[in-house]
């Protein structure tokens, strides 16, 4: 069996009915797709198969011979983020991060298809992706920003330089 994963050709020895999720995680060491439920119910394992978002836990290897598979590792690097990655980072749309890979893949496919910032359409595109930290509002806002192109693909940097003359206690009567 052959696949192209994030632009790299891979020859695989897994049995034909092994799930794409298992092949990616256990055989190729590509760990961004998560085994959240392994029943197609949570969306955390979503990857692009020939450009289409698919639940990799439900895709048998034999059905995608020769396909191009893209995971979050293939979307962008820390110094060169894809728009949806930058939007999620800027917009605090990842809390625990476990659903984020699947959300990003669905969002990326939506934006690449020319999806707009219309809320209903974004909710449709993210349907079946579960977030339990309840970050839906920020996730939808981030996808909306990416769809508008309202993102800087260079991530913001925190500054930890001391500020001269900064008072120790800002609130009168504070025990700090």
């Amino acid at each position: 069996m052959n696949l192209t994963v994030n632009g790299v050709e891979a020859r695989l020895v897994s049995p034909p009915l092994a799930s794409l999720l298992h092949v990616l995680r256990e055989e190729l060491g590509v760990t961004s797709p998560k085994a959240g439920c392994q029943q197609g119910g949570c969306g955390a394992c979503t990857v692009l198969v020939d450009g289409e978002p698919r639940r990799s836990c439900l895709v048998p290897l034999a059905t995608i011979e020769g396909a191009r598979v893209t995971t979050v590792e293939g979307l962008g690097r820390p110094d060169d983020l894809a728009p949806v990655q930058a939007a999620f980072h800027e917009g605090y749309a990842a809390q625990c991060g476990f659903c984020t890979s699947g959300m990003l893949i669905a969002a990326h496919a939506y934006v690449e298809r020319g999806g707009t910032d219309e809320r209903g359409a974004i909710l449709e595109a993210l349907g079946g992706h579960i977030c339990r930290c309840t970050g839906y509002a920020k996730i939808v806002a981030a996808v909306s920003a990416a769809a508008r192109g309202d993102v800087a693909t260079q991530a913001v940097e925190a500054s930890y330089e001391p500020v001269p003359g900064e008072p120790e206690v800002l609130v009168k009567g504070s025990p700090a």
């Binding site: 590792e73 605090y92 625990c96 991530a155 900064e166």
Partner: protein, 458 residues
């Protein structure tokens, strides 16, 4: 202080959005074995016999453990704080909830581990389970633990008590008694990352434990006790949790994985399925809360009687602590000078319950807020006005005699009213958290307010 109000990127944000955050299940160690657990199919049963010999001989199986392999099988999550332990790591003699682990297998791969479970021979004598804690005290009710239906270690009592003021006198004086029963249900946390642990026996005799726990040092203590190992033999690696919400405060997978790793002399991973999460992981507790308030027709709460039943599930875990918090918060954000509270931690044949986002407090807040609205309806008073009048002020004392220094009820209620567009009468809109006086300090509250208005607690 420059970070306050500043917009800083998350320290783990870039790793999250590039798929590079390493969760426990993403750690790769060569020669790692897979784990499967034999779980009770019954809610309540005696284990008549347990034979793992065929599973041990199955090709590819590297270790099988039962209660006989655990150096200290019965322990409790709060035992280090003096709460006696009651929960076996692996069931011994009986099972008390469906999904309770009885034996565990480590094998070369997941399929082999699953096959080995089929080879474990176990005979059960099923018993009638108890699911409704309201029936726990009934004659002939099913028994969960031999010591009785309730957690027995609240000092000399089998329940948590709070007594303040003279409740009988308050009920004598009341214009009306308002009663209510409130039953918040169990909730499964459903973290996207299922329970998972990876334990690596190191050449120096230590165990490296990759853990999804929310409570590293709790978990370290639990593993050390069950395995009877000194803490310096355990290295915990954690802090990257794929959602927890309290459900990963329990040490659910590390200890059994560690036991198997020691026995097999190989790295062992145990990742639960989503089905196991729903079946056997702990939940938020269901509660049964009965309130009776002695109220005056102009909207003062003179006294409250409370009976709370807390469903611990099959074992105590953190329930006694949760009930204690519940007791301390049972007057809610309001000042009630006379209270009489009895709360029981009762056992059932449900999955053990645990922490979840303010557990103990959320249940009583739910009951109290519904009850406040009920009182307002009975008296024909605006629910905002009823709350604002009884709201905690500086110098008011809580049921457990804490003198309040900075209560927030009044400003929060005023802000809430404004946001939802509720027009309050001017005297309510002008209210503050300042110490009670005048009309806000009626006779029945005189003894309940600190004379120094909390300033001695400064």
């Amino acid at each position: 202080m420059k970070a306050v109000g500043a917009r800083l990127p998350r320290y783990d944000g870039l790793a999250h959005v590039t798929g590079r955050t390493t969760y426990v299940d993403d750690v790769r160690v060569p020669r790692t074995l897979w784990t499967k657990a034999l779980r009770s199919p019954h809610h309540s049963a005696r284990i008549a016999s347990l034979d793992t010999s065929r599973a041990e001989q199955h090709p590819g199986v590297r270790a099988v453990v039962t209660h006989e392999d655990v150096p200290k099988n019965v322990y409790g999550h709060l035992e280090a704080l003096g709460v006696p332990g009651d929960e076996p790591l692996l069931a011994e003699g009986e099972v008390r909830y469906r999904g309770q682990p009885i034996a565990a297998v480590a094998a070369e791969d997941e399929a082999t581990a699953r096959e080995a479970l089929e080879l474990i021979e176990v005979e059960f004598e099923e018993r009638e389970p108890l699911f409704d804690i309201r029936k726990a005290f009934d004659p002939g009710a099913p028994t969960v633990h031999e010591w009785g239906p309730a957690f027995p270690h609240f000092g000399p009592h089998d329940h948590r008590r709070v007594r303040k003021g003279d409740v009988d006198a308050a009920f004598e004086r009341a214009d009306t008694i308002v009663e209510g029963v409130y039953r918040p249900g169990a909730i499964e946390h459903v973290p996207l990352e299922p329970q998972v642990a990876l334990v690596v026996p190191e050449a120096d005799g230590r165990l490296t434990i990759y853990s999804c726990t929310q409570a590293m040092y709790f978990s370290m203590g639990v593993v050390a006790q069950h395995l009877q190992l000194p803490l310096n033999r355990l290295k915990f690696v954690g802090g990257t949790v794929g959602g927890g919400f309290g459900g990963k405060v329990d040490t659910a997978s590390e200890t059994i994985a560690a036991l198997l790793a020691v026995k097999a002399g190989r790295p062992v991973k145990w990742r639960w399925t989503r089905e196991e999460e729903f079946l056997a992981s702990s939940t938020r507790a269901p509660w049964h809360i009965e309130l009776a308030d002695a109220v005056t027709k102009d909207g003062w709460i003179l006294g409250r009687r409370t009976l709370t039943l807390h469903d611990a599930g099959a074992y105590t875990r953190f329930s006694s602590y949760g009930l204690t918090k519940h007791a301390f918060h049972h007057s809610g954000a309001y000042t009630i000078p006379n209270v009489h509270f009895d709360g029981y931690v009762l056992y059932s044949n449900r999955v053990p319950t645990t922490a979840m986002r303010g557990f103990g407090v959320t249940s009583v807040s739910y009951a109290v807020e519904l009850h406040m609205t009920r009182i307002a309806e009975v008296l024909g008073i605006d629910p905002f006005e009823l709350r604002l009048r009884n709201a905690n002020r500086i110098g008011d004392t809580t049921p457990n005699l804490v003198v309040l220094k900075d209560p927030s009820t009044v400003p929060v209620m005023l802000a809430a009213a404004e946001r939802v567009g509720i027009e309050l009468a001017p005297e309510y809109r002008a209210m503050t958290s300042e110490p009670r006086s005048g009309e806000l300090l009626p006779e029945h509250l005189a003894g309940a307010v600190s004379r120094t208005n909390g300033k001695e607690a400064g």
